[in-house]
Amino acid sequence: MTSSARSTPYWFLHYGLLAFYVAFALFPLYWLLKVSITPNDLLYSEGIRLWPSRSSLAHYTFVLAHSDFPLFFKNSLIVSGSTAVTVTLIAALSGYAMSRFDFRGKMWLVGLMLITQMFPLVMLVAPIFKLFSPLGLTNSLTGLVVVYTAFNVPFATFLMQSFFDGIPKDLEEAAMIDGASRFRAFRQIILPLTLPGVAATLGFVFTAAWSELLFALMLVSKADASTFPVGLLSFVSKFSVDFGQMMAAGVLALIPACLFFLLIQRYLVQGLTAGAVKG
């Protein structure tokens, strides 16, 4: 299957198909960017031209200076960042236990975590709202962090377990013979060796929390606790003619997601097979 064994027509087809895939993957994002920098007066007159005859950053300055999007962006950063850190801490502990210990009920725990990945989370929307509102966790960023943390722990546990499995057991056993407690060996020897895994887990969870929409819509109704998706959606239903501004906001929402994509790109396979059902 070496490349030299393939004929020229094959490579034509190969590159042709790949060009189609690249175009399909990038075109929607390209269009988002294009409309976001098209001045309003050209948007309708120039129709579907591939690049506007004049570009401007007016939509971005408006969105950054005269809308609530900076607040939504900050809220989303707080929620996604806290969720990522909390989940990674908790999942490092449980992933370590799954990797190193054989304990009664382990199969039940694996089964429980798999089931949580399979059932429709949308069925929890109503009961969680009902449980959270007397606790003051609706309209609050903390409430969202709690929900997102619980939803992401099972997948992150499997992911962390796969990273711990790649580290030989002898390392902490040697430290324990020297008198360190297991927890100390875990913290000072094993965890530093899994730093790439920790980073990947942080990235996956951050991306998942950044994208979450349904629970944010249900649990938050006030603008000051809105996350980016909720803010963008309410903006769309209120001012659905300001396409340039909406798309400028959309490009802003894309930035952190793309940064984290670069961070976790090397671990995509591990992450997707660990979660198996994680999007």
Binding site: M1, A25, Y96, A97, F101, F243, L254
Partner: protein, 310 residues
Amino acid sequence: MSTMPLYEDAADQQRAPLRRFRAGLEPYLYIAPSVILIATIMLVPLIIGLSYAFRDMQLINPFSGGFVGLEHFRNLWMDAAFWLAMKNTLVWTLASVALQFSLGLVLALLLNNPFPGRGIVQALVFLPWAVPTFLSGLNWAWLFNPVVGPLPHWMAALGILPAPENILSDPNVAIWGPIIANVWWGIPFFAITLLAALQSIPQDIYEAAAIDGAGSWRRFIDITLPFLAPTIAITVMLRTVWIANFADLIIVMTNGGPADQTQIVSSYIFTQAFRRLDFGYASAIAMVLLVLLMAYSFAIILMRQSLLRR
């Protein structure tokens, strides 16, 4: 205990069981935060939600909360919108999984062949996976909008559409809008998992087959597919469940409309809970969806076991 020294004193002997107890307890301390969190935020609401299915729970009505037995299920049986949502769920899930899988497989096969620039191409084609789902939905809704999007104009020029109109507002074809967005967003998932499986196939098998005169089509059928089969089976099964539950794109792009023609069961649940604030009815639908998905998973497991036995 045979390794224990004979001169060990009584105090040490007393401590041994305690130490063993603490060592046995250790794994549970590590998993405790996860288990507590999953139990309180997922299992407890799940059970409460199941109880709502038999109660009159409306958020706007403070006097609701009473037990109504199977009334929600009787209403559900007569609810034309629910049956339409069931049909749409089938179309949505089958079309999305089939297209994501077949396009993902072709992409994985293309990327499995080394060529210059593969790294950058791979990063570009996998990028849609990183796009937040709400943004994918909005992005495609804008592309389908004749005011700012090029797609209606192109489709009209190609003769697919009679006039440049928004397919999302045409009840007959609206469901294909979210399906296309879903395919765009989901191809990378299948491509990444299948590419990983492809790269784990030992290369010498291909070389041996080539020496024996097997053409590339034969090698694909006789080597690649059998090696990929387990990965294909598990990812397709899990993805089917995941996509059947996946309501975000529909909520964002069409909100179930026009005239419920794009409503799937999970978006219908969300609509009942979020817009009508009827938690009881939403939970009854959710219970039906849960039972159906469990039956599906169970059937798959049985099928797999009977295949393994043969």
